[in-house]
Amino acid sequence: MNIIEAKNLIFSYKSNTHEKVVLDNLNINIEKGSFTAIIGHNGSGKSTFAKHMNAILLPSGGSICVCKIDSKDEERLYELRKSAGMVFQNPDNQIVATIVEEDVAFGLENLCIEHEEMHKRVEEALKAVNMYKYRKRAPHLLSGGQKQRVAIAGVLAMQPECIILDEPTAMLDPKGRREVMDTILSLNKEKNITIVMITHYMDEAAKADRVIVLDKGKVILDDTPQNVFEKEEELLSLGLSVPHSTELAHRLRKSGIKIDRAILTPEDCAKEILKHKGNSYD
């Protein structure tokens, strides 16, 4: 089943002199329970596409449906946003309350959810992102990674089918990045929540099931991370790169060292290299 269906999706805006096409006839389906990463250089249309999945922007042409709801259907706008929650780059812009658990409850209060149910959902959401023990804290005293996890909990409390994250780790330190990535992966694998994540970090994209590469508002590549990152030269020409481990594997292969499979992580890379060391003792 598809959670998101974009059909001939076009988005353009007019400045005083010319028309700029940002999304150029996109056809993308996102399947329920999948983890998709979207990469592309600055200005490729990634964030514009993300904003269509949450009806923050509406198509100029074509359509996008989220959980079978057309984003242009104004009467079902809340239903759509409940099904597909969005997390942005800067955690400080997303936190509204002065206590963590109140922040997570904010969306639910607006939906007039009963008190007991609200309590239960906030608790579950905070546990899912591993922030339950901070529930009474003031958000401004948390680290960036912790704040971002509170923002994810706020979306999670709405019990969405799908979470869209627009560069959620761009402003975080390495530990914060790891915490947020671990959270995203566990929500996908354990709670079966569909994830669409936009990122500039190739090593994060490598953790998804599927990588979509956008350029000038068009899909250029759409495949498993293994297959996408095999195309190093094409990615470089699009202003992107591959994870360092993948790059090293490509170089070693060019130098005549046999590496059969696609490499995405340092562990994989080391394992393949060590096979050759083993051979030398035969």
Partner: protein, 282 residues
């Protein structure tokens, strides 16, 4: 050139308690160096940068500029401000003039240079920041994210600082934008400017800077050459940082009986070293 001795910085979060942001920081900035500052969010990186740039005064400690120790912080700050230029996080938010040219010209104009000198200064810093002259008459707000950031950097370069501090200059840029920016920094350094790069990206630090200052919870944890810092996994982990991907691979290889120098950080060097090690063992 600049020396901080036993620097403390604290601010009052509320009237009753003081929060100590920096504890007993000692560091030296020598002419012509390319220095990295790393640490988790809240470790004090930005506070150190602001003190070095003369934007805030320490609560305690001594500041030495060109061998002269200042008794009052006010004159120390004045001396620092003449020497040090700082590019803040997301500097594109600070652009304010009607055209790119005027934005870059703002600093030199304020210094009281005549029109011809200002013009020379603008052209020189624009070219250093890889900014084409055909953009001069555009509004900064019409530019792409990467271009805007280069305008902001050119604006700081135009004040001709001896020391350039950049706080996470590559955050939010795509891989090619990041690579170009780092190349510019290397060139600016070659032209004789001392560069201090604050970054969460261990890869960017590993491939560029000569020396790294590690901060954790407001204290200096380590201050040593890049290769020394990345071999000290314990200190990095204590600071919630990670080792670069290439270092990770080499560590696994060496734990499994290979013998590869651990002071290698670029993909090229790693490939050569691994090929050599495999040949030797065969």
């Amino acid at each position: 050139m600049i020396e901080l001795k036993n620097i403390f910085y604290s601010y009052s979060a509320n009237s009753s308690e003081n929060t100590v942001a920096l504890k007993d920081i000692n560091l030296k900035i020598n002419k012509g160096e390319f220095i990295g500052i790393a640490g988790h969010t809240g470790s004090g990186k930005t506070t150190v940068a602001q003190i070095l740039a003369g934007l805030i005064n320490p609560s305690e400690g001594e500041i030495v500029v060109n061998g002269e120790s200042f008794s009052d912080y006010k004159s120390a700050a004045r001396a620092l401000r003449q020497k040090v230029g700082i590019v803040f996080q997301y500097p594109e938010h600070q652009l304010f003039e009607e055209t790119v040219y005027r934005d870059i010209a703002f600093g030199p104009k304020n210094k009281g240079l005549n029109e011809k000198e200002v013009d020379e200064c603008v052209r020189k810093s624009a070219s250093l920041a890889h900014l084409k002259e055909e953009l001069f008459d555009k509004s900064p707000f019409e530019l792409s994210g990467g271009q805007k950031r280069r305008v902001a950097i050119a604006g700081v370069l135009a004040t001709e600082p001896e020391v350039l501090i950049l706080d996470e200059p590559a955050a939010g840029l795509d891989p090619s934008g990041r690579a170009r920016l780092l190349e510019e920094l290397r060139r600016i350094r070659e032209e004789g400017t001392t560069v201090i790069l604050i970054s969460h990206s261990m890869e960017d630090l590993a491939e560029n800077v000569d020396r790294i200052i590690l901060l954790g919870n407001g204290e200096k944890i380590k201050d040593a050459s890049t290769s020394e810092v990345f071999q000290d996994v314990q200190s990095l982990e204590n600071c919630s940082l990670e080792i670069p991907e290439i270092t990770k691979i080499i560590k696994i290889l060496n734990e499994n009986g290979m013998n590869i120098p651990e002071n290698i950080f670029t993909v090229e060097d790693a490939c050569d070293a691994i090929c050599k090690a495999l040949e030797v063992s065969q």
